[in-house]
């Protein structure tokens, strides 16, 4: 197997994520452009022009190229599972030079920049296993401005789902223009503290505009979208109708005494790209 070639595949995966927004996000921004007016329209216009320019010139759409974050599903029959971690790491280092990416990994104690977008625990990789022999990788480079608006609420179970909804709406109003709205908001309800946040983040992988299969959850999502957009915060917090492009909700069973709510915020630069590595080492980036 040509591991170096797969590393180059990782570079292409990151390049795709950083320079081209998925169609579902672009379409949803185009819809926002139609309904906005005045200052809000100028903001969506600048975003759309920027997306176009980034794609054509193959340069990162945003200077904050994020913390490199990957969700990997490994087919249990893939022959070189032990190499995957190293391949991703090397791919990130190469991508930093070749695309280029902004060096975004800083030691929290010494403030020293690691300069190649790797470091302790970073890139942040979530591993899952499946049947078959393909490896599926989703890249979700995550910017700091939107990540800073993440929230964990350990609510009292007595407040119920209404309390959960109020918490999400209030937090997004507090976040205002900081996470570069219009945003995509991922909400995890239940589990424990860390699991709720993880569910929120994972829900960002679902395409914008796609409702949850569970009708009860889909209804909650719709209500949250309406209520947050009614706040009038608008694109970049300068006022307007579109504060969120979408809200995704996921749930897990909770402890009787706790009701954790994890909010993961993604900016309009909802960067995602997918890659498949086959058992013979060939790969595709989509």
């Amino acid at each position: 197997m040509d591991f170096e070639d797969i590393e180059n595949g990782i570079v292409e995966l990151i390049r795709k994520a950083e320079t081209e927004l998925p169609k579902d996000v672009v379409n949803s921004l185009k819809k926002a452009y139609e309904i906005e007016e005045g200052v809000a329209k100028t903001q969506i216009d600048a975003i759309l022009t920027n997306i176009d320019l980034a794609k054509k010139s193959k340069r990162p759409m945003c200077q904050d190229t994020g913390i490199q974050t990957f969700f990997v599903t490994v087919g249990k029959d893939f022959p070189h599972i032990e190499k995957l971690n190293e391949i991703i790491l090397n791919g990130v280092k190469k991508a930093t030079k070749e695309i280029p990416l902004r060096p975004n990994t800083v030691d929290p104690l010494t403030n020293e920049n690691h300069k190649d977008n790797t470091g302790l625990q970073i890139p942040y990789i979530t591993w899952e296993f499946s049947e078959g022999s393909d490896v599926k990788i989703t890249a979700l480079p995550k910017g700091g401005g939107s990540e800073n608006m993440s929230k964990l609420g350990m609510l009292k179970p007595g407040v119920g789902i209404e309390g959960v909804k109020d918490f999400v709406v209030e937090e997004m109003i507090k976040a205002a223009g900081n996470p570069c709205p219009p945003t995509v908001v991922g909400v995890g309800i239940g589990g424990g503290a860390d699991l709720s946040l993880k569910l929120g983040k994972k829900s960002l992988l679902r395409p914008v505009g796609e409702r949850h299969k569970d009708k009860t959850i889909a209804k909650i999502e719709e209500e949250l979208i309406k209520r947050i957009n009614a706040s009038g915060i608008g694109p970049m917090g300068l006022g307007g109708k579109t504060t969120v492009l979408d809200v995704h909700v996921e749930k897990a069973h909770r402890h009787p005494a706790s009701l954790p709510v994890g909010i993961a915020v993604q900016c309009w630069a909802d960067r995602r790209a997918n890659m498949i590595i086959h058992s013979d080492g060939s790969w595709e980036v989509k």
């Binding site: 100028t42 200077q63 060096p103 205002a176 223009g177 309009w268």
Partner: protein, 180 residues
């Protein structure tokens, strides 16, 4: 209203700007995030004149090609992190135009009034578009100490915008109007 301004803009021009106006600027800008703010406030002397430039809250993605720096992507960073420095910074360096995103707090609002300065919002994340309006990288300060995103970069920009006047020199703020 839409204006096309040269930097440095004189105080009369800045006074004219009202919340909701859109401006495009041409001239020199320098980038400064938290650490550059901190450093510049501590230093007695710095080797460029901020009063000639607009202040840009930005941690750009840069590339060196054939010995020359180029901006690859250079949108604004969240301005609220600079709130603790900004009033002193405006006073010390005579800033006229600030470019950032997300808005700033009361201390900055007061300083904008007192020293006739405006805070403008550039579309967050529109880094490729911003880089496209940067004609030349004129210099960089403290690159070694602070690293690429935190260093002070000096850019020559042309028709840089659209910038939305979000807090003006008369005490008005677009963010406060929305909160109401």
């Amino acid at each position: 209203m839409e204006y096309h301004l040269n930097i440095p803009a004189d105080k009369e021009q800045i006074k004219k700007l009202k919340v909701g106006d859109i401006i495009y600027v041409t001239g020199k800008v320098f980038t400064a995030r938290d650490e550059a703010h901190h450093m510049m406030l501590e230093k007695d002397k710095i080797s460029f004149d901020p009063a000639e430039m607009a202040l840009f809250h930005c941690g750009p993605l840069m590339k060196k090609e054939n010995g020359k720096w180029q901006a690859v992507s250079a949108g604004p960073t969240t301005s609220s992190r600079m709130e603790i420095f900004e009033d002193k910074f405006i006073e010390k360096f005579g800033i006229g135009i600030i470019i950032g995103k997300g808005g700033m707090g009361e201390r900055t609002e007061k300083a904008l009034q007192k020293y006739t300065c405006v805070y403008t919002s550039y579309t967050g994340g529109a880094g490729a578009l911003a880089a496209d309006k940067i004609e030349e990288v004129l210099g960089v300060y403290w690159l070694e100490e602070l690293g690429m995103p935190e260093a002070a970069w000096i850019f020559k920009v042309k028709e840089f915008g659209p910038l939305v006047v979000a807090i003006d020199s008369h005490g008005e703020s677009i963010y406060r109007n929305i909160k109401k």
